[in-house]
């Protein structure tokens, strides 16, 4: 760890409240760039939202990156097609708005910058030289919105096939596959598509020849056993050494953000389950909490605690899947059988409580789908009693194994600063030594009431990332125990007109409440026009939903920021100079699922 990292960590400990520092940063910006350059917008996102002119964008970003107690992470970058938005009073005129969310660990605060663009001039300066991880985000905006980024090193499609026409997230692009001609695959079409996927090293500025050797280009994926799904990475090899590599994503793009624009606020919940598909209800949490912010719903303590309990069940479940497959990628066959046996135990609890295994879609706007069943505490207690000895066994039998250590120690290591530069969050960030865990730093859903620790490691290598998961499972088990011991009494649903579906006893009282119920399940609830955002510490890192409501039954724009997307973007920076087996170890240690990358 470098000296810079040390200071970063000690500063992070003395973080102040987000509200106090957010007022500073707007004042700082106004002082630096003049009042005319920054236009604040009032939202429910919980952070300052500022419109900046296009020609000042780069200056503002550089300033925020280099200011004392800097905003060192570009947390998210995407766009909104504003052409059909009706509730825009007080906002600068804009057809397409590109937004940049920056995160400061020292301030424990965020800032959202927005840039307005006119339809006839959809171009922006690229910021990929200021924040390295802007590269993929800008490609995504180019692909899905057709906005140009001048000076981008490789502005090509990233989600859709290279042969695609149109930009799906524009409002004039149809959402449904059934609105297009039925899909057919011809012999010719097959050849054309496969040819379009052929890797061209020159297009990426790669040499085919080294000084003494000719490089080999190895295509790994889109179907490869250690790629954990439809993920492709092209390696430039000098013997076993990875000279460079190019990850290629988009083979798992389910258009979840577009889907949100045609599902009601309520009926989008099942789609969130399938974003990080090993995370189950953990995905519901940021979404329903963001919707509740828009609706102004205060959730009961019981509902909050039930949500925390189920989210932590899924964290354990996801980490168990990680541990099994991570070790399997390293060549160990047995661990996967052990961890999947534990997952079966977890599913017995999850199934008894929610009625489903992987995707329960169990949280509701204002609470949960139903109350905990009778006897839930015995089930959870059984699981809590079962896990610790298994975790001890995993640590002893697997992580102390000499082969596992040799394969992973000091492999694919990165520092805290590098992690922040690339937007890495979650256990992968904490493995570098920084204790940035939203459950502690910005407690939500009642996490402030729980007694648990944030495990960290030192080296930030593939081994530490594996150990982090075991430690996190221990902490999650602690949280589960506290849920069993101190589950609050009360309602599992908030008593609020926008709770969907409304409490059943209310629905049966008189015709008014029956009508409300009918409208909510047929049309869906109507949420006031505003913007809200909720971040949570999900299984793989920070996951957030940024919702824009235009006062309708559906979301106007739903931006889903997932942790795995930046984690994959970072691979070349970590792997250059490594060996092919190190790459496999690294892929195993990242813990990604492709739905969490491509959405």
């Amino acid at each position: 760890m470098t000296a810079a990292d040390e200071s970063l960590i000690s500063n992070a400990g003395a973080a102040e409240t987000p509200a106090a520092s957010s007022a500073d940063v707007v004042a700082e910006l106004a002082r630096q760039f003049g009042d005319g350059a920054v236009t604040p917008q009032t939202t429910l996102t919980g952070m300052p939202v500022i419109w900046v002119p296009r020609d000042r964008l780069r200056d503002v970003l550089v300033y925020l990156r280099d200011v004392s107690r800097p905003f060192s992470m570009l947390y998210d970058l995407s766009a909104v097609d504003e052409r059909l938005r009706t509730h825009r009073r007080g906002l600068p005129p804009s057809d397409f708005t590109v937004f940049y969310q920056l995160l400061s660990v020292e301030r424990n605060a965020d800032i959202l910058l927005k840039v307005a663009l006119a339809e006839r001039d959809l171009s922006l300066p690229s910021v990929s030289d200021i924040f390295v991880n802007a590269n993929w985000y800008e490609r995504e905006v180019f692909d899905l919105f057709g906005i140009d980024f001048a000076g981008h090193p490789h502005l090509t499609r990233i989600m859709m096939p290279p042969t695609w026409h149109g930009h799906p997230l524009r409002k004039d692009y149809s959402a449904r596959a059934t609105e297009f001609d039925p899909y057919t695959l011809t012999v010719k079409g097959q050849e054309v598509e496969q040819e379009a996927l052929r890797f061209d090293p020159e297009a990426w500025g790669m040499q085919r020849q080294g000084e003494e050797t000719e490089f080999m280009f190895l295509n790994l994926g889109p179907n490869h056993p250690s790629a954990h799904g439809a993920f492709r990475i092209v390696l430039q090899l000098d013997g076993e050494e990875v000279v460079d590599c190019v990850p290629d994503i988009g083979y798992h793009h389910r258009g979840a953000e577009k889907m949100a624009e045609r599902q009601s606020w309520h009926s989008f919940i099942p789609y969130t389950d399938r974003i990080d598909y090993t995370g189950g209800v953990m995905n519901n949490l940021p979404y329903v909490m963001a919707v509740e912010k828009l609706a102004g719903i205060t959730v009961t303590d019981r509902a909050k605690t039930i949500r925390v309990m189920m989210a932590e069940m899924f964290r354990i479940n996801s980490h168990l899947l990680f541990l099994g497959t991570y070790l399997q990628d390293l060549g160990a066959m047995t661990p996967v059988f052990f961890t999947f046996t534990d997952r079966q135990k977890a599913y017995e609890v999850i199934e008894a409580i929610t009625g489903f295994r992987m995707h329960p879609a169990w949280y509701r706007i204002g609470g949960t789908a139903h109350d905990l069943p009778k006897g839930w505490d015995k089930l959870v207690q059984g699981f809590v009693d079962w896990m610790p000895k298994r975790l001890a066994e995993y640590e002893k039998a697997m992580m102390d194994n000499a082969i596992v250590r040799d394969r992973t120690k000091h492999v694919a290591a990165f520092t805290t600063q590098e992690a922040l530069d690339w937007g890495v969050t979650g256990p992968n960030l904490r493995a570098t030594g920084l204790d940035f865990d939203l459950r502690k730093k910005r407690p939500y859903s009642g996490y402030e009431n729980f007694d648990f620790e944030v495990p960290t490691a030192v080296n930030g290598d593939a081994f530490d990332r594996g150990m982090m998961r075991i430690e996190e499972m221990r902490q999650s088990v602690r949280i589960l125990q506290q849920c069993v011991d101190h589950m609050p009494a009360g309602d599992y649903k908030a008593d609020h007109p926008l709770t969907t579906p409304p409490p059943r006893e209310k629905m049966l009282q008189h015709i008014e409440t029956l009508i409300t119920h009918f409208l909510q399940v047929s049309w869906g609830p109507v949420l006031p026009a505003n913007e809200s955002l909720q971040m949570v510490e999900a299984t793989k890192g920070i996951n957030s939903y940024y919702l824009t409501s235009d006062g309708s039954t559906m979301s106007y724009r739903t931006r889903i920021r997932t942790p795995s997307f930046p984690h994959l973007q970072q691979i070349p920076a970590v792997m250059r100079g490594g060996f092919v087996p190190d790459l496999i170890a690294h892929l195993g240690s990242i813990d990604f699922v492709m739905a969490d990358v491509d959405r």
């Binding site: 859709m160 096939p161 799906p168 692009y173 149809s174 959402a175 449904r176 596959a177 059934t178 297009f180 039925p182 899909y183 057919t184 695959l185 011809t186 012999v187 010719k188 079409g189 097959q190 598509e193 996927l197 889109p222 179907n223 056993p225 799904g229 439809a230 988009g250 083979y251 798992h252 793009h253 389910r254 258009g255 577009k258 889907m259 099942p270 789609y271 399938r274 598909y277 090993t278 996967v336 059988f337 999947f340 046996t341 997952r343 079966q344 409580i353 009625g355 295994r357 992987m358 995707h359 139903h370 109350d371 069943p373 009778k374 006897g375 839930w376 089930l379 699922v593 492709m594 739905a595």
Partner: protein, 225 residues
């Protein structure tokens, strides 16, 4: 029993659509044989049954997964569900060594040509299980990037419903595939007999279980475990 005859066509042109082979409905080819020559018919029946018995009990799956369903498929391969009971635990990383592939997950337009290529690389005899709503029909993803059912270009033998199906559902799908393999009529050699592949038309599970399912009127409440 009714059969579907599939013949691989030799010459293909650029405009041909996948799946390429020709299909038609026919009667059981074995019954005709029996009428022509009792001894040869019986012999072929026994041989065919023996070969099918071997095939159905040593199905090697291709290690291929797309999304959520693959996690449940993998769960079926691990100790609590133990797919080895059905002789299908030998996962192959290469399509060339595999007997069947499970389309476990969403089939994307970007991924479809790749899936077709992998299917083409598998050697006959080969089968395909479509696992989960996305692979069956697009499911809840009626969206621009998703193929509305993998049978738009691949021939499917068994559809397993669910989003995702439980591991037990996958195992049932596997057993249904085994049942159908037992009834298949394939050429015993490349020089013996008709070279077409006759697949039995197996009874619809939905119709088979319909009466029992609609008889259930009292559903358990979720208030107790």
């Amino acid at each position: 029993m009714q059969y579907t005859l599939t013949r691989a066509e030799g010459g293909e042109s650029a405009a041909d659509r996948y799946p390429l082979d020709q299909r038609q409905r026919v009667d059981d080819p074995m019954s005709e044989q029996v009428h022509r020559n009792l001894f040869m018919g019986k012999l072929e029946d026994v041989l065919s049954s023996a070969v099918n018995w071997g095939r159905k009990n040593s199905l090697w799956p291709y290690n291929f997964g797309l999304s959520c369903c693959y996690v449940e498929m993998t769960t079926a391969f691990t100790a609590p569900h133990d797919v080895a009971r059905f002789g299908a635990e030998v996962i192959r990383a290469s399509p060339r060594q595999a007997d069947f592939m499970v389309i476990a997950g969403t089939c994307f337009i970007k991924m479809a040509p790749v899936i077709q290529q992998l299917y083409d690389q598998m050697l006959e005899p080969k089968w395909v299980i479509s696992m989960g709503s996305c692979a069956n029909s697009g499911g809840m993803y009626d969206i621009y990037s998703v193929v509305q059912g993998v049978d738009k270009f691949l021939p499917i033998d068994v559809y397993v419903p669910g989003c995702p199906p439980r591991p037990e559902a996958f195992l049932q799908g596997l057993q249904l595939l085994q049942d159908s393999i037992q009834e298949e009529r394939r050429p015993l050699s490349w020089v013996v007999g008709d070279q077409g592949v006759y697949r039995a038309e197996m009874p619809s599970q939905r119709e088979k279980h319909r009466d029992r399912r609609i008889a259930a009127t009292e559903l358990r409440t979720p208030d107790s475990i």
